[in-house]
Symmetry: C2
Subunit: 301 residues, 2 copies
């Protein structure tokens, strides 16, 4: 009865989420289907010495013949990346990110656009590169967390990223686990649900973190925490403290359902912690950065 338009599965856009230590690329059709993908450890730290164009051709050279434009986001646009792309200042829409892109041509005429990061100078002062694109690809309204070495929390209102804040959770966990007495007390790093939950509570309630985190030691000494639970307790403590901190940074308890954008294990921990603290959660889309790059690319015309 009706003729439904066939979704186009022709290659339309090449997207590259190019971070410090990882390279993730996708060949997208017009309807957002990921036709092919490439992932490697050719992040900017490694790619800088080889040369960014050389690495790009080695990774996605097979896709270049069809004349698709290339869009990249992440640390590739930082001072240590391929071309430094100035931050968009203040609250940003997808249009503002599209306008801030830096476009240039490669030797064979291919067009590459590197998207900008964001910088907030008023209120919460912070910067990010790459996460803004994931956020744009994930939600129109609400609060999102992107767990990681430097976790990001962001608030989006009507398609505008109105505020965001970084938390050094992953990096502080690694530093404390590997280089303090807490790590020396820990036996193994298998996940322990109970110890994690106790850590979440302690971290969320903490009013003196460098004191309260020492409770891991006190509790081991008194037999209240097994050495095998120290790593999970510490992880829970830092995630619990991050959630409390996000509540305070955004000036009010975060009552929205919180969208968790990310992959695998860490995302699961944040889901557990948020639910334990009575928060509703939702999961962001797979390939949020790819979705965001395609959305922003459309606004570049």
């Amino acid at each position: 009865m009706f003729s439904t338009p066939k979704p186009s599965h022709a290659p339309d856009l090449i997207v590259v989420d190019w971070g410090t230590t990882s390279f993730r690329a996708g060949l997208l059709s017009g309807d957002g289907t990921v036709l092919e993908r490439r992932e490697s450890d050719n992040g900017i730290l490694k790619a800088a010495s080889t040369g960014f164009e050389t690495v790009l051709r080695a990774e996605v050279g097979a896709w270049l013949g069809a004349g698709c434009p290339i869009v990249a986001c992440g640390m590739i646009g930082s001072r240590q990346g391929w071309r430094e792309v100035p931050y968009v200042e203040g609250a940003a829409t997808a249009v503002a990110l599209a306008r801030g892109a830096l476009t240039f041509s490669l030797a064979d005429g291919e067009r590459v656009s590197i998207l900008p990061g964001m910088r907030m100078a008023d209120g919460i002062r912070d910067v990010m590169r790459g996460e803004e694109t994931q956020i744009m690809g994930s939600l129109q309204d609400g609060v999102a967390v992107l767990p990681g070495t430097h976790s990001k929390w962001a608030e989006v209102r009507g398609g505008v990223i109105t505020g965001f804040a970084s938390f050094m959770t992953g990096e502080v966990f690694a530093a404390l686990s590997q280089h303090t007495i807490l790590g020396k007390l820990a036996e193994g790093s298998d996940h322990d649900d109970m110890a994690f939950a106790e850590g979440v509570r302690a971290g969320n309630d903490s009013s003196a973190p460098t004191h309260d985190v020492f409770a891991a030691r006190t509790r081991v000494l008194s037999g209240d925490l097994a050495p095998s639970g120290v790593s999970s307790w510490l992880s829970g403590f830092l995630i619990g403290a991050e959630i409390a901190g996000a509540d305070r940074v955004f000036k009010a308890p975060v009552n929205d359902s919180i969208m968790i954008i990310g992959n695998a294990g860490l995302t699961r921990r944040y889901q557990d912690a948020l639910r334990q603290l009575g928060r509703a959660t939702s999961a962001g889309p797979a390939d949020a950065a790819f979705v965001g790059m395609q959305k922003i690319a459309r606004m570049m015309g």
Copy 2:
């Protein structure tokens, strides 16, 4: 006209402040004069393999002939030390610490007493070994801070240590300086008064520490903090956060003049930070552990 009693300068007591990485001993006269002293890196980590009695004889053997009793405090009484001395539980007086001492005889008949540490199980849960002796040697009433790897804050009322709390300030500073992006941003560690003061304010005001500490990076990126100031800023941040945390742990703003017990550089930083935050400070006695051991030894009879 009056015959004043001559202070006795005869050797009376051997005191040993025996910590994890340091050995400090004094030969005291009855009036507390330090007649001779020994300091080395023969802390318990190093001394354990040599044998504690062997190390003690090597360090202070020359003082042993006069029959003075030997009193020791610190990690020497821990499970990793010479003899494990159970903690005194709860608020403690000098008498309670004297009663908790473990006394034993060496091969040649010398008597050694190792003082206990303290453990609080109610309210603030924490433990310490060695600091309680320094505190007993320093004040009868008030609040004291002992800066260090694991800083201690303590409240003393009428000669009773009523509460104390550890802060991992020194160890967290080392871990963050050496093993995170903040350390990579830092150029050198020369002290910078202005950066330190800014860090103190940021740390004292912080309500989301793993976010707020990241401001060091944001400020460097925006040119508001020189890379040469990062180390001082971070030190100030953690000390400022410790002071705010101590206020919260002890449930009320600490209005007493705060006695700073310790030596040299770190003590100076705490003095600067406390004064910046409008607190009055005083300096604890030199050789606070020696004074405390002599006071407690008198109560052992």
